[in-house]
């Protein structure tokens, strides 16, 4: 059972998860099915991956050995077509019959995600958000907006590692209090120096780290945060209709990045407790992690690709909150035109105003 395909119990057509209704919908007969009702489909996923009979096969004659290690082929259970995908692909559509398929083996055993946040935003919303993203930005080349056509829009469940941690420690600060006064001859400034110590703890829940090497880390961090109140236990029933990847970056690889973010936040939080001083500079700390919990989650992301002047522009939208990001090209000519126009306008207006006031 390498491929899992969800069929409509009414007409037998392939069904997909709908972000608006939060249910599986049959595009042929409009039958809706609650994802929870299909939980039995994932019954076998608790077994260890090594114990499964995996029926994928490699195309030895087409790919080099290195390529084979990066690719896997599956046979579509609807049309019998061969689906060649990246080894980390967990859900996709059949290129022959366009049926959504789930590689259930990618989420079985030790690699089964703990949780998932289902898509709440659909493709139309992503396209609308892109247009909104262009609005109010005066320095985008006009032709970019007019000419560029989206090459690809895909909803992807991106693998994330979520870190829960408690940090406790002792933190030292050099702080000052400043008082000023004067007499008829001198201005006095008195500075009192203090050594400030604070001991305590802080908790963090679900600090995310991108577990897919195919996703740009900065792009994924830019669409944070996710609302974990809407997280649900993982079920493959949420995957049909979207792409999904298995993680290929381990938590250990992401730990330095996570630790850096935690350190910045912890220092800022402790600094807030040092009050009543004119200045407080961190002067050392001794901290320890008292809790380490790790979760594997699939989080929804819309990825939009476009190409302009041979350069690829990638946009991402948080599939839950709709937060949209993506760098845009700069119209250098417009930038300089505005700069000169503003300079001439303001200086000219100022000189005119000053001259008129001088004549009065």
């Amino acid at each position: 059972m390498a491929l899992l395909e969800y069929k409509c119990p009414g007409c037998g057509g392939a069904i997909a998860f709908d972000a608006n209704t939060q249910q599986l919908v049959c595009p042929f007969c409009d039958t809706t099915i609650d994802a929870q009702a299909l939980q039995h489909k994932d019954a076998g996923l608790e077994q260890d991956i090594t114990s499964e009979a995996i029926d994928w096969q490699y195309s030895n004659t087409q790919f080099s050995e290195q390529e084979q290690q990066q690719l896997a082929s599956y046979v579509c259970t609807s049309c019998g077509g061969e689906i060649i995908a990246d080894v980390t692909t967990g859900a996709t559509t059949c290129p022959f019959c366009d049926n959504p398929v789930v590689m259930s083996s990618q989420f079985a055993g030790t690699v089964k995600p703990d949780m998932i946040i289902p898509f709440k935003m659909d493709k139309q919303k992503a396209v609308a958000k892109l247009k909104e993203h262009y609005k109010g930005k005066k320095l985008i080349p006009k032709v970019f907006k007019d000419e560029n056509h989206l090459e690809e829009i895909k909803g992807v469940y991106v693998p994330f590692w979520l870190f829960d941690t408690d940090i406790s420690g002792q933190y030292a600060f050099n702080a000052t209090k400043v008082r000023s006064w004067s007499d008829s001859n001198y201005q006095y400034t008195e500075t009192e120096h203090y050594k400030v110590m604070r001991g305590g703890s802080i908790s963090f829940v679900g600090v995310p780290a991108d577990g897919s090497s195919k996703m740009d880390n900065a792009l994924m961090e830019s669409i944070e945060p996710y609302n974990y109140a809407e997280v649900v236990p993982f079920q493959t029933a949420y995957l049909p209709g979207f792409m999904a990847n298995k993680y290929d970056v381990t938590p250990d690889e992401m730990l330095p990045r996570v630790n850096k973010r935690l350190s910045v936040s912890t220092t800022a939080a402790v600094s807030k407790t040092v009050q009543g001083y004119a200045s407080a500079t961190p002067a050392g700390s001794k901290e320890q992690v008292t809790k380490r919990d790790l979760h594997y989650a699939l989080l929804p992301v819309w990825i939009l690709n476009t190409v302009w002047k041979n350069q690829r522009y990638v946009f991402a939208m948080n599939g839950q909150t709709g937060k949209f990001v993506g760098d845009l090209p700069l119209d250098t000519g417009a930038y300089w035109r505005w700069l000169i126009l503003l300079f001439v306008g303001i200086v000219g207006g100022g000189i005119l105003l000053v001259t008129l006031l001088g004549l009065m």
């Binding site: 320095l139 001198y186 201005q187 006095y188 050594k195 110590m197 700069l339 000169i340 000053v354 001088g358």
Partner: protein, 274 residues
């Protein structure tokens, strides 16, 4: 035909010679008129011979330019008079004419005086007198008497020019000009800052992919829970900066004078210490 040519050539030669002689004579006459009159009466020997000559040439040039007599003098003593009265009496004694001004210095009494007669009374307002005092006094205090005289002549050149145009120099006018200059500079700076800031801000709007610097979104709402704390006083430092003293004009040594001099001629002027 040849005779006609010779006659024409002779006539041209005579015309050129006459013109050259005429111009030479007029230049010589003008030059001697400007340079021959002595306008520097350095009785206290504050200046060198060269400085006297240079100052005299400058006084003559500006006097001719504005049709106004400028005289510079130094005396051993003011003879018990106020510096401005002594200056007015000295000027009248030089017999330069009804329209003129003088700057007189007495090193022994460390005073200097200014007096203006005729058109000078119109040109040198009270504001103008204060400006002349502020211009000259620092040089005299430093013992740079020649520079003080030259600064006075330059200031008089400007004052007389404005007065001849019908608007004698005033502090209000000066302030207005300065404010206008400041206004232009502010316009320029505002324009430059705005022109750089606004398009740069628009450009930064194009960049929205940025790594999250912190994990603040995921910190517990209670923040850092303090379990123990200690605030220990280490030491105290006190820095003191002297407050600059305000200098008032009354203590600067400026004293406006004027009225009638010893021979009953009206004048305006001031006395000052250095």
């Amino acid at each position: 035909m040849m005779n006609m040519r010779r006659k024409g050539l002779k006539w041209l030669q005579r015309f050129v010679a006459a013109t050259f002689l005429g111009l030479s004579f007029s230049f010589a006459a003008t030059g001697s008129a400007v340079a021959d009159v002595n306008r520097v009466f350095d009785e206290d020997n504050l200046l060198s011979t060269t400085q006297r000559a240079t100052l005299n040439a400058k006084l003559s040039e500006i006097s001719a330019k504005h049709d106004f007599e400028l005289v510079a003098a130094s005396v051993a003593t003011l003879g018990g008079k106020s510096a401005d009265l002594a200056a007015s009496d000295f000027y009248e004694a030089t017999d330069f004419g009804a329209d003129g001004a003088i700057l007189i210095i007495s090193l022994s009494e460390r005073e200097f005086g200014f007096a203006a007669h005729g058109f000078g009374m119109y040109a040198c307002t009270l504001d103008c007198e204060q400006l002349l005092f502020d211009t000259v006094q620092p040089f005299l205090s430093d013992g740079r008497y020649f520079d003080g005289y030259v600064a006075w002549v330059d200031a008089m050149d400007r004052m007389l020019g404005l007065a001849r145009e019908g608007t004698p120099w005033s502090k209000a006018q000066q302030d207005k000009e300065e404010m206008t200059t400041v206004g232009y500079v502010i316009s320029l700076i505002t324009g430059a800052i705005t022109a750089i800031f606004i398009p740069s801000r628009w450009r930064s709007q194009l960049k929205s992919v940025k790594p999250q610097p912190s994990a603040d979104f995921y910190a517990s709402k209670n923040g850092f829970q303090v379990l123990n704390h200690a605030d220990t006083f280490i030491n105290r430092t006190v820095a003191k900066i002297p407050i600059p003293k305000q200098t008032s004009s009354s203590s600067s040594g400026f004293s406006s004078g004027g009225g009638f001099n010893s021979s009953g001629t009206s004048y305006s002027g001031f006395s000052g210490k250095f």
